[in-house]
């Protein structure tokens, strides 16, 4: 394996991905990611100098509409899906100390 993923990199990726892995999971993930990167680096065989990155195959343009409410009030049904609800709002852990 060419790509050796350090503990620091794993820590950093965990922050970006908002994932907290157990020590065993972490070891496994390091191996997996190293192997995947080795594989992806196959793309380096290709000369892509001067090639524009293509994010979409077709041109993508924004779709505008008038800023008017067109959906019905579904507050109750929507809140039914929330793990925490208080006074008709989403309940979240304290965000400001």
């Amino acid at each position: 394996m060419k790509n050796i993923i350090s503990d620091e990199t794993m820590e950093y990726v965990g922050i970006l991905a908002k994932l907290e892995l157990s020590p065993e999971e972490k070891e496994h993930a390091k191996q997996d990611m190293g192997r995947m990167l080795d594989y992806i680096e196959k793309l380096n065989e290709l000369d892509t100098t001067g090639v524009e990155p293509m994010s979409h195959v077709f041109p993508v343009v924004n779709v505008f509409r008038e800023d008017v409410v067109c959906n019905t009030d579904k507050t109750e049904e929507i809140l039914k899906n929330a793990p925490g609800v208080k006074n008709g709002m989403f309940k979240v852990p304290r965000t400001v100390e």
Binding site: T9, L19, T48, V57, F58, P83
Partner: protein, 484 residues
């Protein structure tokens, strides 16, 4: 012939002719599910029986009154569990969405309901559509109805299995890297991924947004064309939805391939391709030739770069799309936590399965500063080159013919231990997603173990009609040969 064996269109004719009632069909399907579901497990959730019967009666009324005239009116269908269905649980086969009940339906489902199709249930899939076997589902695996010791393919494995097991007459799947075509091939049915932008993604829970596309899975090419015609309407709620005026796909159900130019990429027939698959596909090519098509071999190039480009792009988009699952507005939330960020992390770590976490982490990494150019942009540049290779091919050919997958369905439990090997199973399907192309999977034989083999026809963007016509011609020719 048993009613359950009929195609969606043949069933529709019987309903229209008054030979069978929608309620009778619904009862047959519900009984078939009762009999087969325990061994196959196509569904994550089933619509309540009473609700199905009530809806069936309503649909029959609409047909009798002449209000419902679509060929799909009264036809039982199944929907992959990553498409929102109003009031019906939609889980993406993930623990993180185990109790999610959408308050709206996806555009494609709405169109089918307007046409009078009867929703039976939500089908099992690889978690968040990440996988090729339907074994990464948080709610148990689905088995291949042809042989229950084998996987049905993925990620739309439940959608394929439900059609193959005659639990419904057609289903919807989604295809990000082959997730409709691969299970269709493994289960011996027809599956089609249309040109990117043809079917609205509104209400489809996103995996790789620039690659995701909804498509039909059914017993016949004609059924697929009919379903696709119904769901291919423009939708302003998806900014990538296309205004197309050529979505009368059933007009292409014509048996004629004379003069069609079909290219077979030499570079598809390399190491790793099962001999029986190779032989079946080349035999199909001969059938096309005998029907008057011009079949030639050519070099497509860049075939081996599609998978690494795909996993970079799809993982990057997944890492962004799946950030919304944070335990606040819907879905699972961890029980004990200290503070907001710990809650996010614990919720996601407990809620997502291993394959999903693997791709989120890879995606986060390739998008992170310092690596973005080297990995993510490199993949997007490769995508541009792949698209160019296809443009070049379609300058000479009407379509490309090849296998759907290198092998027939693997045995259960053989794939997940080596993800890299599983990824290679998508080698022939992935490039159609990168280049936005339409492609169809049609059965073309069996291997010695009796497992189905799929033939793939890939067309240029917006050229669905060409591949539908070719696939239909092939299918009809094979039916005729069987009779003879």
């Amino acid at each position: 012939m048993s009613i359950l064996n009929l195609s969606a269109l043949a069933l529709s004719e019987k309903i229209k002719a008054g030979e069978i009632k929608v309620t009778e069909v619904a009862r047959l399907v519900l009984d078939q599910i009762k009999e087969t579901e325990e061994s196959i497990h196509s569904f994550v959730s089933l619509v309540d029986e009473d609700a199905v019967m009530k809806q069936a009666a309503l649909l029959q009324e609409g047909i009798d009154k002449g209000e419902l005239t679509s060929p799909l009116a009264g036809v039982p269908m199944a929907i992959k569990d990553n498409m929102c269905t109003n009031g019906i649980k939609t889980t993406c086969s993930s623990k993180i969405l185990e109790n999610f009940v959408p308050t709206y339906s996806s555009h494609a489902v709405e169109e089918l309901e307007k046409a009078g199709a009867l929703l039976i249930g939500k089908t099992n899939m690889d978690e968040f559509a990440m996988g090729s076997t339907t074994e990464t589902s948080a709610f148990g695996i689905t088995k291949n109805p042809v042989n229950i010791e084998h996987v049905p393919g993925g990620s739309s494995g439940g959608s394929a299995a439900s059609v193959a097991a005659k639990q419904c007459y057609f289903s919807l799947g989604s295809d990000t890297g082959g997730s409709i075509r691969l299970p269709a091939s493994y289960c011996g049915i027809v599956g089609m991924k249309p040109t990117y932008g043809t079917v609205s993604r509104y209400g489809l829970i996103a995996y790789g947004s620039s690659l995701d596309q909804i498509g039909p899975m059914a017993k016949t090419v004609a059924d697929c064309a009919t379903v696709l015609e119904v769901i291919s309407t423009y939708d302003e709620k998806d900014s990538t939805s296309m205004k197309r005026s050529d979505t009368d796909f059933t007009a292409a159900l014509v048996r004629d391939v004379k003069g069609m130019k079909i290219g077979i990429p030499r570079d598809y027939f390399t190491e790793g391709l099962q001999v029986e698959v190779k032989e079946a596909v080349l035999k199909a090519a001969e059938v096309f030739r005998s029907m008057g098509a011009i079949v030639e071999e050519f070099d497509l190039s860049l075939v081996e770069y599609a998978i690494p480009a795909y996993y970079t792009i799809a993982s990057a988009e997944a890492s962004s799309n799946l950030e919304r699952f944070d335990g606040i507005k819907y879905g699972y939330r961890t029980k004990e936590y200290e503070g907001l960020h710990a809650m996010y992390k614990k919720t996601r770590s407990e809620g997502f399965g291993a394959e999903v976490k693997r791709r989120i982490m890879l995606g986060s990494f390739v998008l992170s500063s310092g690596y973005y150019d080297a990995y993510y942009l490199k993949a997007l540049r490769t995508k541009a080159l792949i698209k160019k290779a296809f443009d070049h091919a379609f300058a000479s050919y009407d379509m490309i013919l090849g296998p759907v997958a290198p092998t027939t369905a693997p045995k259960l439990g053989m794939s997940l231990s080596d993800p890299m090997k599983m990824y290679l199973g998508d080698i022939y399907t992935i490039s159609a997603n990168l280049a936005g192309l339409p492609a169809i999977s049609v059965p073309c034989g069996f291997d010695q173990a009796g497992l189905p083999i799929g033939l793939q026809l890939t067309g240029d963007c917006f050229m669905e009609k060409k591949i539908i016509q070719a696939a239909f011609s092939y299918e009809q020719e094979m039916i005729q040969k069987e009779v003879e």
